[in-house]
C-alpha cells in the first residue's frame, strides 16, 4: 500500500519537475499530459509489441517525447503567456484524440500488457533527475535561464540564444514527462488515453504553483503534499479537488510564489557572502 502511494507520489513529482524545467525559461506549459501519454504509449509499444526490455524503452520514450516537443515547440514557443497556455492545452487534447483513434494501440479502449516498473524504478528516476537538477541550479545555465525568464531581449543582447534556451527546456521537460509516463504505464499495466487529459496537465502545473515556482524543491513539496496527504487524511481524499483548489487560491492570495519561494542563488554569490 505504502509502496503504491510512494510510486504515485514519485510520478507526480517527476511530472511537477517537468513543468518546473519548462518554467525555468519562463514558459508555462499545460502540455505535460500529452508528453506523458506519448512516453507511456511509446514505451508500451516497444515492450509489448517489439519485445524490448524496460530500460531502453523508457529512455527512448523520453527521447520521443522530447523530439515531439522540439518539433512542436519551434513554431509555438515564440508565443507568450495566454497564447502558449492555449496551444499547450490544445496539444494535450490533440494527443489524446490521436491516441484514441489508433486501433494499433488500443484506441479508446486502452492499451495493456505493460509491466515491469515498480517503486525502485521511480526512486531511481527521481534520484537521477533530482541530482541533475541540483547541479544545474548551481551552475551558469541556471543564470542564463533566470535571465531569459526575466527579460528576454536583454538576455539576447548579452549573447544568449533565447529561442534555443526555451526549446531546450521544453524538450527536457518533455523528456522527464515521457519517462514518467513510461514508468506509469508499466506499473499500471493498462492505460487509456483519457488518463492523460487536460485535467492532468492542469493538476501538474498547480502542484508547482502550490509548492513554489522559484526553485527545484517547490515541485517536490507540491507534489508530495497533494499526493500523500489525501492518502492519510480521508476527508482530503474525498474532497481532493476542492481542497486542492482552495489551497491554490489561498497560496495565490497570500504567498503567490508558492510555499517555498526562495530563489536558489548561484554558487558565486554564496562564495562571496562567505568570504565577505
Amino acid at each position: 500500500m505504502i509502496a503504491d502511494h510512494l510510486f504515485f507520489a514519485g510520478i507526480n513529482l517527476l511530472l511537477a519537475w517537468s513543468v518546473y524545467v519548462v518554467l525555468l525559461s519562463g514558459n508555462l506549459s499545460f502540455a505535460q499530459g500529452a508528453f506523458m501519454a506519448l512516453g507511456c504509449y511509446c514505451a508500451g509499444v516497444l515492450t509489448v509489441k517489439l519485445g524490448w526490455t524496460l530500460l531502453p524503452s523508457v529512455l527512448l520514450a523520453g527521447s520521443f517525447s522530447a523530439l515531439i516537443a522540439t518539433i512542436v515547440g519551434y513554431p509555438t514557443l515564440r508565443l507568450k503567456g495566454i497564447y502558449l497556455i492555449l496551444v499547450t492545452l490544445g496539444l494535450t487534447v490533440c494527443v489524446r484524440v490521436l491516441l484514441e483513434n489508433f486501433k494499433f494501440i488500443g484506441g479508446v479502449g486502452g492499451f495493456g500488457g505493460m509491466k515491469g516498473a515498480d517503486l525502485t524504478w521511480v526512486l531511481m528516476a527521481v534520484l537521477i533527475f533530482g541530482t541533475l537538477l541540483y547541479f544545474f541550479s548551481r551552475g551558469p545555465m541556471q543564470l542564463v535561464c533566470d535571465a531569459v525568464r526575466e527579460d528576454e531581449l536583454v538576455a539576447a543582447s548579452l549573447g544568449i540564444n533565447v529561442v534555443a534556451t526555451k526549446l531546450a527546456t521544453f524538450a527536457v521537460g518533455a523528456f522527464i514527462a515521457g519517462v514518467a509516463g513510461a514508468l506509469y504505464g508499466h506499473y499500471m499495466n493498462f492505460v487509456r488515453p483519457e488518463n492523460f487529459d487536460v485535467l492532468l496537465s492542469i493538476y501538474v502545473v498547480l502542484y508547482v504553483v502550490l509548492g513554489g515556482v522559484n526553485n527545484m524543491w517547490g515541485p517536490v513539496v507540491g507534489a508530495l503534499i497533494m499526493t500523500l496527504l489525501p492518502e492519510y487524511i480521508r476527508i482530503l481524499a474525498e474532497w481532493r479537488p476542492s481542497v486542492f483548489g482552495l489551497s491554490i487560491l489561498l497560496i495565490l492570495l497570500l504567498r503567490p510564489q508558492g510555499i517555498l519561494r526562495f530563489r536558489m542563488s548561484t554558487q558565486s554569490s554564496k562564495e562571496l557572502l562567505r568570504h565577505g
Binding site: 487534447v93 490533440c94 487536460v198 491554490i248 495565490l252
Partner: protein, 294 residues
C-alpha cells in the same frame, strides 16, 4: 442529411459563440483570462434543472442567466479582485482555474458525476418542425432564436447605452476611464455578470438539447470556447461570434463526411495553426476598435 447536420452545427456553433463571447468580453474589457468561465457554463445546465423543478420551463432561461451572473460576481471577487496589476495576470488566471476545480467538485458532490436528466419539458420543446419535407427539431430554432436575441441585446447594450459607453472606455484604458470618473470596479462587475450569464445561458441551452446536465462539459465544450476566442481574436466580439459558428459548422461537416472521430480535435488544430500564423486572431481588432468601426 447535409442540411440537418449543418443546422446542428450552427446550433452548436451558437452555443460556442455565447461562451466565447463571455471569454472575449472579459479579456477585451478587463484584460483578464477567466478560467472559471467553462465551469460556470457547465453549471448553467444544473441551474436549469433546479429552475425547471420550481418554475415553468422557459423561466430557466432567466434563472440560468442570473445564476451564472451571480457566480461571475463571486468569481470576480475571489479570483480577480486582488490581482489587478499587469504582473498578476497569470496568477489571476491560475486562481480562476483553481476556483473552477472547486465549482466542479461541488457540483459533482451534489449531483454525482453522471449526467443528470432534466425534468420533463413542455411538449413543444420536443416537437419537430417540417420545412421542405425535412423534419427539424423545433428546439434547434429555439436555441438559435435565443442566441440571436442575446447577441442583439449585447450589441445594443454596448453601443447604445451609457453603461456600454463606460464599458468601451474601460476597454480602451482603465486608467483613463477612472480619471474620467467611471467606476471601474462597477464596470468590471457588470462585465463579469454579463459574461458569466451568457455562459450559463449557453449551458442551459445545451442541457435542453441533450435533455440532461453534464458536469464534465466544462473542460471539453467550455474550453473549446477559449480556443474559439483566440481564433477570432482576443477581445473581438465579432470574432467570437463568427469563430463559434465557423467551428460548429466545421465539426458538423466533419461528421457528414465520416470524419467524426476527429471532431474533438478540430478546434484545437485550428487554434494552434492560427496562433502560429496570426496570433492576433482572424479578426485582429480588439473590442474598442471594433466598436469604433461599427
Amino acid at each position: 442529411m447535409l442540411v440537418g447536420q449543418v443546422l446542428n452545427g450552427l446550433v452548436n456553433g451558437a452555443m460556442y459563440s455565447l461562451v466565447a463571447l463571455g471569454f472575449t468580453l472579459i479579456i477585451g474589457v478587463l484584460d483578464k483570462l477567466n478560467f472559471t468561465h467553462p465551469e460556470i457554463f457547465m453549471f448553467g445546465g444544473f441551474a436549469g434543472i433546479i429552475s425547471i423543478n420550481y418554475f415553468p420551463a422557459p423561466w430557466g432561461l432567466v434563472t440560468s442567466f442570473v445564476v451564472g451572473g451571480i457566480l461571475g460576481l463571486i468569481t470576480e471577487w475571489i479570483a480577480f479582485r486582488r490581482f489587478k496589476s499587469p504582473d498578476s495576470k497569470i496568477t489571476a488566471a491560475l486562481s480562476s482555474m483553481a476556483l473552477g476545480l472547486v465549482f466542479t467538485d461541488w457540483v459533482q458532490k451534489y449531483w454525482g458525476t453522471e449526467p443528470v436528466s432534466l425534468p420533463t419539458l413542455p411538449s413543444w420543446m420536443e416537437q419537430n418542425v417540417r420545412i421542405a419535407e425535412v423534419e427539424f427539431p423545433y428546439l434547434n430554432f429555439f436555441i438559435l432564436g435565443v442566441t440571436c436575441l442575446l447577441m442583439i441585446t449585447l450589441h445594443t447594450l454596448i453601443n447604445k447605452t451609457r453603461m456600454g459607453r463606460q464599458i468601451r472606455a474601460v476597454a480602451e484604458s482603465p486608467m483613463n476611464a477612472s480619471l474620467l470618473g467611471i467606476d471601474v470596479k462597477k464596470v468590471s462587475q457588470v462585465v463579469f455578470f454579463i459574461s458569466s450569464g451568457l455562459a450559463a445561458e449557453a449551458g442551459f441551452l445545451l442541457s435542453l438539447r441533450s435533455a440532461s446536465a453534464n458536469s464534465e462539459i466544462g473542460l471539453t465544450f467550455g474550453l473549446k470556447a477559449l480556443a474559439i476566442m483566440a481564433i477570432g481574436g482576443l477581445g473581438d466580439i465579432r470574432g467570437a461570434m463568427l469563430g463559434g459558428l465557423l467551428i460548429g459548422v466545421m465539426e458538423a461537416l466533419l461528421f457528414v463526411f465520416g470524419w467524426g472521430r476527429w471532431v474533438e480535435m478540430t478546434v484545437w488544430v485550428v487554434v494552434i495553426i492560427t496562433m502560429v500564423i496570426k496570433p492576433s486572431g482572424l479578426f485582429s481588432a480588439r473590442l474598442k476598435t471594433q466598436e469604433a468601426r461599427a
